[in-house]
């Protein structure tokens, strides 16, 4: 309730005045008696005391009530419809980053996420009427879990039970943006963020978050010591030993002695005693012999957050590539292809090529030959023949380039970055009409030299010139262009490691239908492979994930992707100072007018009724006195 004219409440000063008047002049009923002779004999020693006592009469109550009602009416009170049943909308943002798995600290038992879950359950239990509540999980990616009213409380509770702490970082900015979007058209909404406040990037997140939100913060957990392996990396060294670097950090105010162990493919390689300074780092390096595929480093645990005590690193830097070269004169091409790391090459004569489709061939290089249809996987077609069913190939044009026939390269590709093509003579060029699925990457005088595109389950690049009639193979640009083209056609190797919860884009083999991901705990997830796009995945639990790319029943690729939880922005369990709660901005004047209900007419009417009742009471009493 608000008062438009608060000064009107000064009229309440009449209440003590009325009391004083009633106290001073107690109105007595007059009774005629035969004589006062007998009454004067009555002792009157207590009369003075009786006068001082306030006579609680109906008349006094009516006077007070009328004065109070009139005073309130003068102040022009009005109800806001919030109090008359407008629905309340709550948005509860729960931090689900890895640090929420740490204990609450102090005497409390359970994790920080448990405490946040309990608080959210209490909020769900407090829903009533037309209230609604939306649950948002703020992990590395913000997710809207569910939204329901009291009728859907069971659903909200189930969503709360399904929450797990994991992933590095809390995307508060996205969570608050989601909250703002959810509160559109909800003037009585409020956002409650439940977090452990271990948010080093909170200030930056808040700068990106929408403003003018009714936002309150609730902290769970307190500062706890922690040690973490926040970096584990290796410098690729083809064929030889690998240099490995690790950094471990002590997030506590006291120095700590601990042990760091390094495992290679599950075998203990080294154990080191380390002394952590207070709030300091320890850097370690190793040289790991060749042949080790997966490294695991561990710092002696026994701290608040065990998840970041272990880090994994994959030393498999290249993806295995099985190539088939079909060429009548494969020497130059074969020489360049063999320089590609992880490449296993098979060369056959065009006469022997009948359009093999094998799951064991990742890359097919066709020189002067084209099959009836594009082989699955990566395909590089060089000097396509004139008669084929796949491309519209015309006659050969002259090799001498005029001044007007300048090379034009597409800006969409990096194949030609740093490559000098000025002295390259591509020889006669086939007049190829670019198909719909292909894009011209390089052209001369409007004639495409190199095309690139995806068709069916094939990644195709077309070189529209004959390598044997130009001088490209004698230039440095040739192996560079060839290797880059192969890398462009074939999927990249898996990253050496990823941070928990951070999105990873997997570039899949074009033949892949399904990606099968086996988590460290053995659970298997199958994802459909998108065509021509990278598959975004997010892995929250730390550990080594096994990935398989399947084309039907055939396995196209199998690899491992290590995921680490240690990160400087997540392992530090020191709570940051949370901002103060903010109130919702005042609504527009039109809204306030629409939502307010003036009460003064009702109060004035009530005062009138009370005064009428007072008049009737006084009149009836006078009549009774007269009749007596």
């Amino acid at each position: 309730m608000t008062f438009l004219v608060p000064l009107g409440l000064l009229a309440l000063l009449t209440l003590p005045l009325i009391l004083l008047l009633h106290l001073m002049r107690e109105r007595r009923r007059r009774v005629v008696v035969p004589s006062l002779l007998l009454w004067q004999l009555v002792p009157r020693r207590q009369e003075a005391q009786r006068r001082r006592r306030l006579p609680l009469t109906l008349l006094l109550l009516l006077h007070l009530l009328a004065a109070a009602l009139l005073a309130l009416a003068l102040a022009h009170p009005q109800w806001l419809t919030d109090l008359l049943g407008r629905e309340r909308h709550l948005v509860v943002v729960i931090d689900t980053s890895a640090s929420m798995a740490a204990p609450i600290g102090g005497v409390s038992v359970g994790s920080r996420l448990d405490a946040a879950r309990a608080r959210a359950r209490a909020l769900v239990g407090g829903l009533g009427g037309r209230d609604t509540l939306t649950l948002i999980a703020a992990g590395p990616e913000a997710r809207l879990l569910d939204s329901a009213g009291p009728a859907g409380a069971a659903r909200l509770l189930a969503a709360l039970d399904g929450l797990e702490a994991g992933g590095v970082g809390s995307d508060m900015a996205s969570a608050l943006t989601l909250s703002a979007a959810d509160m559109q058209g909800q003037p009585a909404g409020q956002v409650i963020v439940i977090t452990d406040a271990a948010l080093p990037t909170l200030d930056a997140d808040l700068r990106r978050a929408p403003e003018r939100l009714a936002l309150s913060w609730e902290q769970v957990g307190s500062a706890l010591p922690n040690r973490a392996l926040i970096t584990l990396s290796a410098r690729p060294n083809s064929g030889g030993p690998t240099d490995v670097y690790a950094r471990a950090t002590n997030y506590s105010g006291a120095p700590v002695r601990s042990v760091v162990r390094l495992y290679g493919d599950g075998r203990l390689l080294d154990t080191r005693q380390v002394s952590f300074p207070a709030q300091g780092d320890v850097e370690l390096t190793w040289t790991v012999p060749a042949g080790v595929g997966m490294l695991r480093a561990e710092v002696d645990g026994n701290d608040s957050l065990p998840a970041d005590d272990t880090a994994w690193l994959s030393l498999v830097s290249a993806r295995p590539l099985r190539a088939l070269l079909v060429s009548a004169s494969p020497a130059s091409i074969e020489r360049a292809l063999r320089a590609v790391p992880g490449m296993s090459l098979q060369v056959i004569d065009p006469a022997d090529y009948v359009g093999q489709e094998s799951p064991n061939i990742d890359l097919t290089v066709l020189d002067g030959v084209l099959p009836e249809r594009w082989p699955p996987g990566a395909v590089l077609a060089i000097n396509p023949p004139g008669k084929n069913n796949l491309l519209d190939v015309g006659g050969l044009s002259g090799s001498l380039a005029s001044e007007a026939d300048q090379l034009r390269s597409s800006s969409d590709t990096t194949i030609f970055d740093g490559v000098s093509l000025g002295s390259v003579d591509f020889g006669p060029i086939h007049a190829i009409t670019p198909p719909d699925w292909a894009q011209t990457l390089l052209s001369r005088g409007g004639r495409p030299l190199i095309l690139r595109g995806s068709v069916d389950r094939s990644e195709v690049a077309v070189w529209a010139f004959d390598l044997g009639q130009g001088n490209l193979t004698t230039r440095l640009a040739f192996p560079l262009m060839l290797v880059r083209t192969v890398r462009d056609l074939t999927p990249a190797a898996l990253p050496a490691s990823a941070l928990a919860g951070q999105p990873v884009g997997l570039r899949l083999d074009p033949r892949t239908d399904v990606v099968e991901i086996t988590a460290p705990d053995g659970s298997v997830r199958r994802l459909a492979a998108p065509e021509g796009e990278a598959l975004p995945i997010s892995l929250d639990a730390p550990g080594v994930y096994a990935l398989r790319e399947l084309a039907g029943a055939d396995e196209v690729f199998a690899g491992q992707l290590p995921v680490n939880a240690g990160a400087a922005r997540e392992s530090d369990l020191t709570p940051r100072r949370l901002p103060a709660a903010t109130a919702a901005p005042p609504s527009a004047s039109s809204d306030s007018e629409r939502d307010s209900r003036p009460l003064w007419p009702g109060l004035a009417a009530a005062a009138l009724i009370v005064m009428l009742g007072e008049w009737v009471y006084v009149h009836a009493r006078r009549t009774a006195v007269r009749s007596a």
């Binding site: 109105r27 007595r28 009923r29 008696v33 004589s35 004999l41 009555v42 009369e47």
Partner: protein, 322 residues
């Protein structure tokens, strides 16, 4: 009977005495003071006057303190010269050789003074005390007239008002009743001064009946001093209203005196009412003591008592009537 017309309602609007008497009660909407049967029953009774009162032996029915020669024997005395020879007891002379005179009881009439309080306080109450006072004075006056006593009705307020009488004989009854009914309320009560004044006017004394609520600031004891026996036989009829004893009031009140208009603010609670009842009881005891001290008879009468069924038997029990 002849006085039946007194109680007949006035239908013709004539100016005869009986019709005029019933005019006021009918105009007020009140019942007449008596009915005919009651007066017939009252005629069998008489006032109990003391032998010591001075009266006129020529008439009247009250016993006198004097003995005179009479045929109704009660005593002898020696004959003296001049005595009527008809009253000589010759039988006694034959037996004792002494001439003795036969003596008998003498009867007399008495002066009956009926003092009626006509102050405003007599008008208060349910029923008003004045109503019973009029009935009592009317009944006693009727007895006095019926038994050949000399009657005087003296209404009083702050001072004595015009009196009715002295008179004798039943023939004055209608006039007496009309006089009683025509009394108007007076602003105050001067009980003691009126009594003293009346006693000075009638030094021979008589039977005096004071019919009042006795709510007068002047003391009754002082007033009764001038009505000393044996010359005066004083009868105090104290008319009490039920609400004098149980006021039935509660809370803060402003009490107004019906005669003086004086006001008194009181807050009545149980404690105050108990004190009031105690003071009323003490006041009544004081009145009774004062009457007893001056040889007067004190008879408290509640104003709601019915005259014939309760008041008359009470007066008979107190030997005020016989």
């Amino acid at each position: 009977m002849w006085f039946k017309t007194i109680f007949r309602p006035n239908r013709s609007g004539g100016s005869q005495g009986g019709q005029a008497l019933s005019e006021k009660p009918s105009s007020r909407g009140e019942a007449p003071l008596f009915d005919e049967a009651f007066l017939r029953r009252m005629e069998r009774m008489s006032l109990q006057a003391q032998r010591t009162l001075r009266g006129n032996p020529s008439s009247g029915e009250h016993p006198s303190r004097h003995q005179i020669p009479t045929s109704i024997f009660s005593d002898h005395r020696p004959y003296s010269s001049g005595d009527d020879l008809r009253y000589v007891d010759w039988n006694a002379y034959a037996r004792h050789d002494h001439v003795l005179l036969r003596l008998g009881e003498a009867e007399q009439d008495v002066n009956v003074h009926l003092l009626i309080d006509a102050s405003r306080s007599m008008m208060i109450g349910r029923p008003p005390r004045m109503r019973l006072a009029q009935q009592l004075v009317g009944a006693l006056g009727y007895l006095a007239l019926a038994h050949s006593d000399r009657l005087q009705v003296v209404p009083f307020g702050p001072s004595a008002m015009p009196v009715f009488g002295p008179t004798q004989g039943k023939a004055r009854m209608i006039e007496m009743l009309r006089f009683i009914e025509g009394l108007t309320p007076q602003p105050a009560t001067g009980l003691a001064s009126v009594i003293r004044q009346h006693a000075r006017r009638f030094p021979q004394g008589g039977l005096i009946v004071i019919c009042s609520d006795l709510l007068s600031p002047e003391g009754l004891a002082e007033a009764l001093r001038s009505l000393a026996p044996p010359r005066w036989q004083t009868l105090v009829l104290h008319l009490i209203d039920q609400r004098d004893l149980q006021p039935g009031l509660q809370g803060p009140l402003e009490l107004e005196d019906s005669e003086t208009g004086q006001r008194l603010e009181l807050t009545l609670d149980d404690e105050t009412l108990a004190a009031y009842r105690r003071s009323v009881a003490e006041w009544r005891e004081g009145l009774a003591r004062a009457c007893a001290g001056r040889g007067a008879t004190y008879a408290p009468i509640m104003s709601h008592w019915p005259l014939e069924q309760q008041v008359v038997p009470y007066l008979r029990a107190r030997r005020l009537l016989r």
